[in-house]
């Protein structure tokens, strides 16, 4: 392949692979808790970090990581207090992140020409050094996200139950915030701070409409994340378009296709089958409906047709 002749493209593909792997794995818990936009907020805060890095001459990636982790922790603490003002407090913080970033960059003597690289992503400018930092972060994020998956699932699924079970809910929430912050920093060169949470959310949005379990959702989301990450980066090379926008548009296209095909499939399916939930009882021996042996299973006669259980619904046989 032509694009693999260039080192910068290889680095770009490796970076997008890391984002494609990590972002959906962290994002799934944000989607589960209906906090899809938190990642964007952390992205705004990270901009202040990038600017601080420029201003002080330190590595923007490191400064962004510190700011993002602190910001994410603060967001979680504000959220946990659950006051009515939490919403506004978060908004103030997000505006503050962008405004602080812009002002700090204005103050720095040598204005970085590549600020847009951080805002909108410029994957091809990823240096070997950046890549090493992203790789270390990715490994850490993956180790925690995979190792603590059952706990993160429990706390995202039912926080009150997790607390009643004696789990360290605050600790897990802060950990998820830190994971989100790390993912934001890994993603910022690839999709940019303004599109930061797209790769955390969109692959999971696809999984949400296609999958039937949390496990399959996670696998589908990661597959979509890696697919659109690599596909978008490749496409941006040939189309000569910005990588971040291309990746995100590709992810949206996948989401639309998944939604439309699922809706079409359901429409066809609903003529032949109906949901278990529509039944006042589960068909079984003694349910009152005539049972008819049918090959390897039993059908139940119901409203003039035969029902056979199939996963979450009955098929007509």
């Amino acid at each position: 392949m032509e694009l693999l002749q260039y080192d910068f493209m290889i680095r770009a593909l490796v970076a997008s692979l890391m984002v494609g792997l990590t972002a959906p794995m962290v994002g799934i818990y944000l989607v589960q808790r209906r906090l899809a936009l938190i990642g964007d907020g952390i992205g705004h805060v990270a901009l202040t970090g990038v600017a601080l890095g420029f201003l002080t001459g330190t590595a923007p990636v490191g400064a962004a990581l510190v700011c993002a982790v602190l910001g994410a922790g603060a967001i979680e603490l504000i959220r946990a207090r659950g006051r009515a003002s939490a919403d506004v407090a978060l908004a103030v913080m997000f505006y503050g992140g962008i405004a602080g970033g812009v002002v700090l960059i204005g103050l720095s003597a040598d204005r970085p020409a590549n600020l847009t690289a951080y805002l909108f992503g410029a994957i091809t400018t990823t240096s070997g050094e950046d890549l090493a930092v992203f790789a270390a972060l990715s490994v850490a994020v993956l180790a925690v996200a995979v190792g603590l998956a059952p706990r993160l699932f429990a706390v995202s699924n039912d926080e009150e139950f997790a607390r009643a079970s004696g789990m360290n809910v605050m600790g897990l929430n802060l950990l998820l915030a830190a994971l989100t912050a790390a993912t934001v920093v890994i993603s910022m060169r690839v999709v940019g701070l303004l599109l930061i949470s797209a790769l955390m959310i969109l692959p999971n949005a696809v999984a949400q409409v296609v999958a039937t379990s949390f496990r399959s959702s996670l696998l589908i989301a990661v597959a979509v994340g890696v697919g659109v990450g690599l596909g978008g980066t490749t496409a941006s090379y040939y189309l000569n378009t910005p990588s971040g926008g291309t990746i995100v548009l590709l992810a949206i296209a996948v989401f639309l296709v998944a939604t439309l095909t699922t809706a079409a499939r359901r429409a066809v399916h609903s003529r032949r089958a109906h949901d278990l939930a529509e039944h006042t009882h589960e068909h079984g021996p003694g349910c009152g409906h005539p049972a008819i042996e049918h090959g390897d299973h039993v059908d139940y006669e119901h409203d003039g047709h035969r029902h056979a259980i199939h996963g979450a619904h009955y098929d007509d046989h």
């Binding site: 589960q32 995202s156 139950f161 079970s165 278990l276």
Partner: protein
């Protein structure tokens, strides 16, 4: 197993229940009954550490809850109609999350864990549905998923908040049948409820609450007797809350 001594419990500096004394012993099936706002849910939330104990003492298995390391000994079934997050999850996945109080951080599910999860699902009669997304189940079935989740860690005591509310008669009977099986296995139950009638067959005691205080603490037979005669006997009508009247006919 549970002991409240002069306990005042509430949220954010505001007590909801005042000076409650309550003791639940092993093998008992206790209903906390009362109208909305009487504080019955707050009492169990205090026992579970979800509400703040402002004065007095709450002890679970002889120790203050903060010091109880074996939290798996208490199972909790929250008052909720659904267990559905934004991402689809199966019955087995949700029930497995109830096993975590027995697990260390970063440890994987073992064969024993999976067996316990399977057993809990079987106890509530959802084995055939364990790979089904919870969102596809009926309200009554989802309620049973929550019970299985609480059972997955093998608790000695189960605390349930309004398990029969909003469940149709058929599913209510099924639910009570599940509770009968659990009690037969030696589980202690504390049930918050509006109505004791559906649980007549399992109940050993009824604690009636009103305005954040315990109004009466009666053996089940007396509670049902009071409910039966509440409307006609002047003495009982005074000592037993009026809203209990008429329960006898439905129970």
């Amino acid at each position: 197993m549970v002991e409240l001594v002069h306990a005042s419990i509430g949220y954010a500096e505001r007590p909801v229940v005042h000076d409650v004394d309550l003791r639940v012993d092993r093998g008992e099936v206790v209903a906390l009954v009362g109208p909305n706002g009487s504080g019955k849910t707050t009492v169990v939330r205090g026992i579970l550490g979800l509400a703040t104990v402002m004065s007095g003492q709450v002890r679970v298995f002889g120790t203050p809850l903060d010091h109880l390391r074996e939290r798996w000994r208490i199972g909790y079934v929250p008052q909720r109609h659904t267990v559905v997050g934004a991402i689809p999850s199966t019955v087995a996945e949700v029930v497995a999350s109830g096993r975590l109080p027995r697990k260390r951080w970063f440890s994987r599910m073992t064969a024993a864990d999976r067996a316990a999860v399977g057993e809990a699902i079987e106890l509530v009669g959802l084995t055939a549905r364990q790979r089904v997304p919870v969102a596809n189940l009926s309200g009554g079935q989802q309620r049973r998923v929550l019970i299985a989740r609480a059972l997955a860690c093998g608790p000695e005591m189960l605390i349930m908040d309004e398990p029969t509310a909003g469940v149709d008669a058929e599913n209510q009977a099924r639910l009570v049948n599940t509770l009968e099986n659990l009690v037969a296995q030696g589980l202690t139950l504390v049930v918050v409820t509006h109505e004791i009638a559906p649980m007549r067959s399992v109940l050993t005691r009824a604690v009636m609450m009103r305005d954040g205080r315990v109004e009466a603490d009666l053996p089940a037979a007396a509670a049902f007797g009071a409910a039966l005669t509440g409307g006609s006997d002047a003495h009982h009508a005074h000592s037993v809350p009026g809203w209990l009247g008429g329960l006898g006919s439905t129970g």
